[in-house]
């Protein structure tokens, strides 16, 4: 079961898909038989959730991540993330031919490719201004809006010619951050077909006034939720992606047909059938029966089935993700917060996590080592420190020494207690009283055996320093319902009663910014970590183009432990061996790119 762009809501399920020692050993990379690229053919993809919205700007209250899977094939975003396993924008599939920055990186000039919409009309800069005008009035009800980002950071947009867009921003940016992050969220939309306020109304330039833009946005969002007309509404027939939607069933099964007018790289598969499987079991049974599934993923719990799948003509390959995994401490939990706020306590925790052992024994070597915030998939952006194993190699003795040095009575296999309350350099720290125990609850998503093993290992290692961990596994949605973003100003007991939590992994866009994850008030910064120095370093990476600035941010984050780093397991892909173009896996697009696939001879 797959997701194109993996959101954290599915982390629990998808993280169950990595780890495959035997499969890795016995599977090939891409099929060597797929050398000749046949034109035509049908491929089916197994998914485990259903899209429910087709207009690319889904409302704020709709967070079905699978909508992206649906509309990406129809209206690709300006920047297409990744070329194979390389963390670069795809020059072939991105909608622009060049982006030039000027005015101290406050202005970018984007030249759009001379591509066409599926009705034969040219894609023009007017389509960009249409998008901008709609988002300008509708960003508050746009699911993907990033605080302070497009369109609120835009001061003006001009279109000197049919294919050129000049965008002035309210501040300087790191061009890589903007191109590889924000522009991966924005598609072009066909102004000539969609600029209307009702189904029967005329197409005009309604978006050029605030009231008109609001009406158009509301109309398109209303139409975008009507499942029954996804495949028939004339609006959605005008696309610029490699496929058009030819059939859609409310049960989540939908079919794409190749867009004859697609101006991008040649598409070979003439039809793509997306099948909905409610459970891993049903999908696995289909794979084992040699059914119709062309590609899917293998749950980690079922790795022993890899051999059988090979006999049914599948290749089974572990692929890394563009994501990091971590255990998040709640610094504003009434009981555990003061303890977890101490850097030395988090360092002791990290010293007690034997990451290489987890990679080797739990994930059978198919995982990112988790040495810090940036996974190895990002290549040159991974700092030497992270490549060398990170700042905290496994060292129980160092953990014990750290705790003793800060006034704790360490009781291996018992419970360590604070004997020196206070704020001095050898004391336990602010808010920690005498007799306070190093005892925490660690909540994590249930249903994945590797999660269970990983958490049990961490629990066991922590005992060496007398840190008592009580594990609590809950279904993902149950956990999500009780874990909220906790900050100094808002940490209600209902959503901030948790102490340590592990959801799975956090995905990155093409540029692995720390914004949102580790900055003060970041929307993914659940535990309320706040460090002005880190905020400045994050800003430096996002606003200035400098590799050394990025390394500085990266190493500082790795050392300060806003979250506890742990390995991130790969996803295990299964695909028919006669499908070519599947490898190398693109971790930045989720690897599901049927426009690149073909049957070989």
């Amino acid at each position: 079961m797959l997701r194109r762009r993996i959101v954290r809501a599915a982390a629990a399920a998808l993280a169950a898909l990595a780890l495959i020692a035997t499969a890795a050993a016995c599977s090939g990379s891409n099929s060597s038989s797929a050398n000749t690229q046949k034109q035509g053919g049908t491929v089916s993809i197994a998914w485990n959730a259903t899209p429910n919205f087709i207009f690319p700007f889904s409302p704020a209250a709709n967070t079905d991540g699978y909508n992206l899977n649906l509309y990406w094939m129809l209206w690709p975003n300006l920047t297409f993330p990744g070329v194979g396993a390389q963390s670069i924008a795809s020059p072939q599939e991105s909608l622009w031919s060049s982006i030039t920055w000027s005015n101290g990186d406050k202005t970018f000039t984007m030249v759009l490719k001379p591509w066409k919409w599926s009705d034969g009309q040219p894609i023009t800069s007017r389509d960009f201004t249409f998008v901008y005008n709609l988002l300008k009035v509708g960003y508050t009800n746009w699911n993907e809006y990033q605080q302070g980002g497009f369109p609120t950071d835009v001061t003006s947009v001009s279109t000197p010619n049919e294919h050129t867009v000049v965008v002035n921003l309210n501040r300087s940016y790191n061009p890589a951050f903007y191109t590889d992050n924000l522009l991966t969220l924005i598609p072009l939309l066909p102004q000539h077909a969609w600029d209307k306020e009702s189904a029967s109304g005329p197409v005009g330039n309604f978006d050029e006034t605030t009231a008109g833009a609001k009406a158009v946005f509301a109309f398109l969002q209303k139409e975008g939720g009507d499942l029954a007309t996804f495949a028939t509404n004339p609006l959605w027939k005008v696309v610029d992606g490699p496929y058009t939607l030819s059939q859609f069933q409310a049960n989540g099964t939908y079919t794409y047909t190749a867009n004859k007018y697609y101006s991008g790289p040649k598409v070979h598969m003439s039809k793509v059938v997306n099948l909905f499987y409610s459970t891993d079991t049903a999908e696995l049974d289909s794979l084992r029966a040699g059914g119709t599934i062309g590609t899917g993923s293998l749950p980690l719990n079922d790795l022993q089935q890899a051999g059988l799948l090979k006999s049914e003509g599948y290749s089974v390959v572990p692929d890394p993700l563009a994501a990091f995994a971590s255990i998040e401490p709640n610094l504003y939990n009434a009981k555990a917060g003061p303890v977890l706020s101490q850097l030395y306590v988090r360092q002791a925790f990290e010293d007690l996590i034997d990451r290489p052992e987890l990679v080797s024994k739990v994930f059978s070597a198919d995982a990112d080592p988790g040495n810090g915030p940036i996974p190895l998939t990002f290549g040159s952006l991974v700092s030497p420190l992270e490549k060398a194993g990170g700042p905290y190699p496994y060292s129980p003795s160092k953990a014990v020494a750290l705790l003793k040095a800060h006034g704790w009575n360490v009781v291996p296999n018992g419970v360590t207690t604070c004997t020196s309350p206070g704020t001095g350099p050898t004391d336990c720290g602010a808010g920690i009283s005498a007799g306070e125990q190093l005892s925490f609850q660690l909540a994590y998503s249930s249903g994945t055996s590797t999660f269970d093993e990983e958490m049990a290992a961490i629990q066991s290692w922590d005992e060496q320093a007398g840190i008592k961990i009580t594990l609590k596994s809950e279904p993902f949605n149950t956990l999500a319902g009780t874990v909220g973003v906790c900050t100094a100003s808002s940490h209600p007991a209902s959503t901030c009663g948790w102490q340590l939590v592990y959801f799975g992994y956090t995905p990155y866009n093409l540029f692995p910014t720390g914004l949102g994850n580790f900055n003060t008030g970041g929307f993914e910064n659940l535990g309320g970590y706040s460090n002005p120095a880190l905020d400045n370093l994050i800003n430096a990476t996002d606003y200035t183009a400098s590799t050394s600035a990025f390394y500085q941010y990266e190493d500082y984050t790795a050392e300060q432990l806003p979250q506890l780093w742990i390995p991130d397991q790969d996803i295990v892909m299964v695909y028919k061996s006669d499908i070519g173009g599947f490898a190398p896996f693109n971790p930045f697009s989720g690897g599901i790119n049927p426009e690149d696939w073909y049957y070989g001879s």
């Binding site: 959101v7 954290r8 809501a9 259903t50 429910n52 919205f53 704020a60 209250a61 709709n62 967070t63 079905d64 009800n141 939720g225 499942l227 069933q249 409310a250 049960n251 989540g252 099964t253 099948l275 909905f276 499987y277 409610s278 459970t279 079991t281 049903a282 999908e283 049974d285 289909s286 084992r288 029966a289 040699g290 059914g291 059988l308 279904p475 949605n477 149950t478 956990l479 999500a480 319902g481 009780t482 874990v483 909220g484 973003v485 808002s490 209902s494 959503t495 959801f503 929307f523 993914e524 659940l526």
Partner: protein, 317 residues
């Protein structure tokens, strides 16, 4: 009969209302918020507020219940938080599929269980009876998922006779057009239910066979075949009718495990998904439908009883 029916319908309505109130309260007592469960833990306070405002979740509980009842009497089950679709549409899409699945499997189970029960009762305590008893007990003891996986392993994975997933077509007509894909889920449900039916039937037939009036019938020279079909069957089938009546909620409630294993997108999957996702409108809508089905099933069984056995009708007033 009218008074009897009136009383039973009144009781049924009271049960449905009670179930609704209880379900509403229990659902809202669940830990964690629906907004966070649906939007995810990274949802900002502003988005949670939009969500709660959109669905009226920031209103006091009694007001929410009032709104819900008001919608209900207007035939509106609300909008699913997750699917963003009217709950009535979702139920309308899935309910017919369950009627097909559970209906077919029940019919199949009865077609096997009733003759089986009669045969075992007539041949009771002989080797054939003991063997069949052992077989039915084995089926009865097997969890549904195990039967399903066994059938898939044998008939789909090993021999490729049947597909391992149910028909994926959205309409009942489309599903019935792919009967091969229906075989395994229907047989799975039939196998796990027929044991119960056949045991009820066997016990009931044994009781009936001991009745004096059958001696009279036989003394009159009626062939044994007719004795069984005309007199024994009709008098023995009452307990089975009760059980079938009680299984009506399964038709609308779905068969969660079977649906999951065979990727059968019925009410069971809908309900389970809603429970996991805190999708209150679906939970309430489905509970309401199941509640209705439960009382209707019981009512139907009572009426069938009355038709088949006039003594019950008369005793009931």
């Amino acid at each position: 009969m009218t008074a009897y029916l009136t009383r039973r319908v009144g009781q049924a309505l009271a049960v449905v209302v009670g179930v609704m109130i209880l379900t509403f309260i229990l659902i809202h007592m669940e830990p964690g918020s629906a907004a966070r469960s649906i939007l995810g833990f990274r949802a900002t306070a502003a988005r949670v507020a939009i969500f709660n405002n959109t669905y009226g979740l920031n209103e006091p509980l009694y007001k929410q219940f009032g709104t819900y009842l008001d919608q209900l009497v207007h035939g509106n089950f609300g909008i699913s938080y997750y699917y963003q679709q009217p709950v009535s549409s979702l139920i309308a899409q899935r309910l017919p599929k369950d009627i097909v699945l559970v209906g077919l499997s029940t019919v199949l189970a009865l077609l096997i269980a009733i003759p089986l029960g009669i045969y075992q009762a007539v041949d009771r305590n002989r080797i054939s009876d003991n063997l069949l008893t052992g077989a039915t007990f084995t089926l009865y003891a097997m969890p549904t998922f195990f039967v399903a996986l066994l059938l898939i392993g044998l008939l789909a994975v090993q021999t490729h006779v049947f597909p391992p997933v149910a028909p994926q077509n959205q309409t009942v007509g489309g599903m019935l057009a792919d009967p091969r894909a229906l075989v395994l889920p229907v047989v799975t449900l039939a196998l796990v239910t027929l044991a119960g039916y056949s045991r009820y039937m066997r016990s009931s037939v044994i009781d009936t066979l001991a009745q004096d009036y059958l001696r009279v019938v036989r003394a009159k020279g009626l062939p044994e075949r007719l004795v069984l079909s005309r007199h024994v069957l009709r008098n023995s089938i009452l307990p089975v009718i009760t059980v079938v009546g009680l299984s009506v909620p399964n038709i609308v409630g779905g068969a969660v495990i079977t649906e999951d294993i065979f990727n059968y997108q019925g009410m069971g999957q809908l309900y389970y998904g809603a429970a996991v996702q805190h999708d209150f409108p679906i939970l309430l809508g489905a509970t309401f439908i199941v509640g209705i089905a439960t009382v209707v099933g019981n009512l139907a069984a009572d009426i069938a009883y009355g038709i088949l056995d006039p003594r019950i009708r008369h005793a009931g007033g």
